[in-house]
Amino acid sequence: MTARDTVAEAVVTGVGTVAAPAGTALDEPWFDYRARLGPRGYKYLPDACQYLLAAAKDALTRSGAESAGPAGPAGPAGPAGPAGSAGSVGSAGAAGDGPAALAGFAEERRAAVVGTNSAVAALHADITEVVRAGGINRLSPMLTPFFSVNLVASRLSTEHRLKGFNTTVTSPRVAGLEALHVAARELGAGRGDLVLAGVTEAFDPGHGTAAAEAGSVVLVLRPPADAVRPGGALLRTTLRFVPPAALAHESGRRRAGREVREALEALAAPGRAPELIRVVTDGSAVAAAVEAAVRDWSARRVPLSVEAVGARAGALAPMERVAHDLRDGAAGPRTVVAVAGEGNVAFASVDPYGTA
């Protein structure tokens, strides 16, 4: 049996975020789409869609991608064009707005992968309520199509002419990192040259005892063959799964620990052990097992930060940590691990000086 190649790689050239100010009541209006997107064309979009569009615009503006795209018509791309002004993920570039930043890439080679758990949860609640109260004719024809969760990400394609592919992924609590992994995997498979990958969440009225999330993080990703430019980073991702029932048995616990340690080992490029690992947990038994395995692997190796953020009704929190690491000017690779009690475990490492 050959070893699995579980790590996907991509180069980050930009990051954009939309975050609610601290202390904001997320079920109240807090985001001014006019200020971030413009006065027209965005009013009748769900909140999560507005957040996503704004984060993507931010990411593209901060990306140096406009000078690196393979010019020419649709089709398999050649090597990247000459590098121009180096973009920085930490500061806005001088390249103007999103479409300008994409200009060097054929529409059929641009794509998007977006993760979400709760982007349309509020809309679903509204639809259910309206139908119960008065029938389907009272549903808004503008908002109703967004009952289909992929329309949130698809609007990104309409906005930026991303015709390569547009994928929505939805695994509990890890969907943002999952989106990065799928995007990197599809770049590696040659299905695109530039992918906007990220997460968007909106207030979920059914968040129950979990904390609601609202906001978005978007990264601009290029194939791993691209050089990491100043201010950019090499992204490495991998996914694992810990069947919750497996933790009831010693053999399952051993397997779970081995999977986590192997994932961290695979993620760390030779000689590039992470300077920091943050584990975003949800208080579940799976999270406890993963956290223990991470501590075991990292003992005397890295300053481990375990963030027990508490149960969250979405997949935003881990991506906020990735965005922070990208903008923090870190000297070495940093890793974020996201865990869901359902069994999903996702790992992402960003390395400002990494090479594929």
């Binding site: 059929e108 679903h124 329309l151 015709k163 939805t170 869901a340």
Partner: protein
């Protein structure tokens, strides 16, 4: 199976739950019988007047602590894993990639009556639940590209195998009828009041079905010596970037996605032996898809038989592409395409060949499959069948 290369991704196991019953034998028998009809969904018809659906009969699956979509997925997954005769070690190493448009939306609708103090219940936990119940430690991915979700899942599964992330992937789709999608389609005027009748001149929209379709796909190396149904020869994705719900009437990205799938498969339009179209019964979709097939197949359009699967099981949303792939595999195994449901009057603008008597013998089974979704999310796949 002869002539496999290291890039080949083969299908070794199948499972289905649909209005035709549980299991691929029931599925195939139901296609041959061609007597399925939609009914008003219990508990929903009063909220969405005129709603119809091709529903999975009560008692076919046990829901237990899961919602209906997850229960369908688990049932079909266990069938597929058993059909593929996977060992316990192979299951533990297996990746899981499942497409679902709505996940457990129906259960959320019910839970709202008592929302508040309960723990958050993720809507999209179908793939997680299947991976958890089967004990699969491999990558576990939930894809939610609406009616093309399992097509996107299939493409990801191919890439996971080819890039070495997994040697065995359980891939498929699952969805259950729920108020939100039914109401939305009703509001958008996209529901047919009679039945799902793609390419019929009098079609008035689609009719939802429900269920799950699962496949075990493996690298050629992992499947060595095992019986296979065929190969996932090539798949492609595209996005219209045009309109939230309507296909781009120009069809450019639909043509491109089919041609890219054929290119990846190493096949020419002349190699296509059959087509399982997206064919939903909505006026725009079927008209555009017929034109697209004409552009892709050229003068062979009238010679390539189409199998209009949704006329039998309804539009199964996120599981539709997986159902089409299972159907292609069964056509390969049986060397024939069942007769299509009888059309009252085929739309003269949809000049495709829908054999309505039969079955139609197939000596080769290079099957082109399409799945399109809201948001302009498109998928095509070329399945290369083998006698099992």
């Amino acid at each position: 199976m002869k002539g496999l290369t290291s890039d080949d991704v083969v299908v070794t196991g199948l499972g289905t739950v649909s209005c035709l019953g549980a299991g691929v034998d029931a599925f195939w028998a139901g296609l041959r019988a061609a007597d399925s009809r939609p009914e008003p969904p219990p508990g929903l018809a009063e909220r969405v007047p005129g709603a119809l659906s091709y529903r999975v009969a009560d008692g076919v699956t046990e829901t237990g602590r899961y919602g209906r979509a997850t229960a369908f997925a688990l049932h079909a997954a266990r069938q597929a894993v058993a059909d593929a005769a996977l060992t316990a070690e192979e299951i533990a190493d297996m990746a899981v990639v499942i497409g679902t448009a709505a996940g457990e939306t129906a259960e959320r609708e019910t839970a709202r009556d008592g929302a508040g103090a309960e723990a958050w219940a993720p809507v999209f936990r179908v793939a997680s639940a299947v991976g958890g119940e089967l004990g699969a430690f491999g990558s576990n991915i939930s894809v939610s590209n609406a009616c093309a979700a399992s097509g996107y899942a299939l493409t990801l599964a191919i890439d996971l195998v080819r890039r070495g992330e997994a040697r065995t992937v359980l891939v498929g789709g699952a969805d259950a009828v729920a108020t939100v999608p039914l109401a939305a389609f009703g509001r958008l005027g996209a529901s047919d009041p009679v039945r799902c009748r793609p390419f019929d001149a009098d079609r008035g929209g689609t009719v939802f079905g429900e269920g799950a379709a699962m496949l075990v796909v493996r690298s050629a190396g992992a499947a060595a010596g095992r019986p296979v149904y065929g190969r996932l020869l090539g798949a492609a994705l595209s996005c219209d970037a045009h309109h939230p719900t309507a296909p781009d009437p120009a069809g450019d990205q639909l043509v491109r996605v089919a041609r890219e799938a054929l290119r990846e498969a190493g096949r020419e339009p002349g190699d296509v032996d059959a087509v399982i179209p997206h064919g939903t019964g909505t006026r725009q979709n079927d008209a555009v898809e017929a034109r697209v097939l004409g552009e892709v197949l050229g003068e062979r359009l009238g010679d390539v038989p189409l199998f209009s699967l949704k006329a039998f099981i309804g539009h199964t949303a996120g599981s539709a592409a997986a159902f089409s792939t299972v159907c292609a595999a069964l056509m390969a195994r049986h060397g024939a395409m069942p007769a299509n449901m009888t059309l009252e009057r085929q739309d003269p603008d949809c000049r495709v060949w829908l054999p309505q008597t039969g079955p139609t013998p197939l000596t080769r089974t290079n099957v082109l499959l399409n799945a399109y979704a809201f948001g302009g999310n498109n998928f095509s796949l070329v399945f290369g069948g083998e006698s099992r």
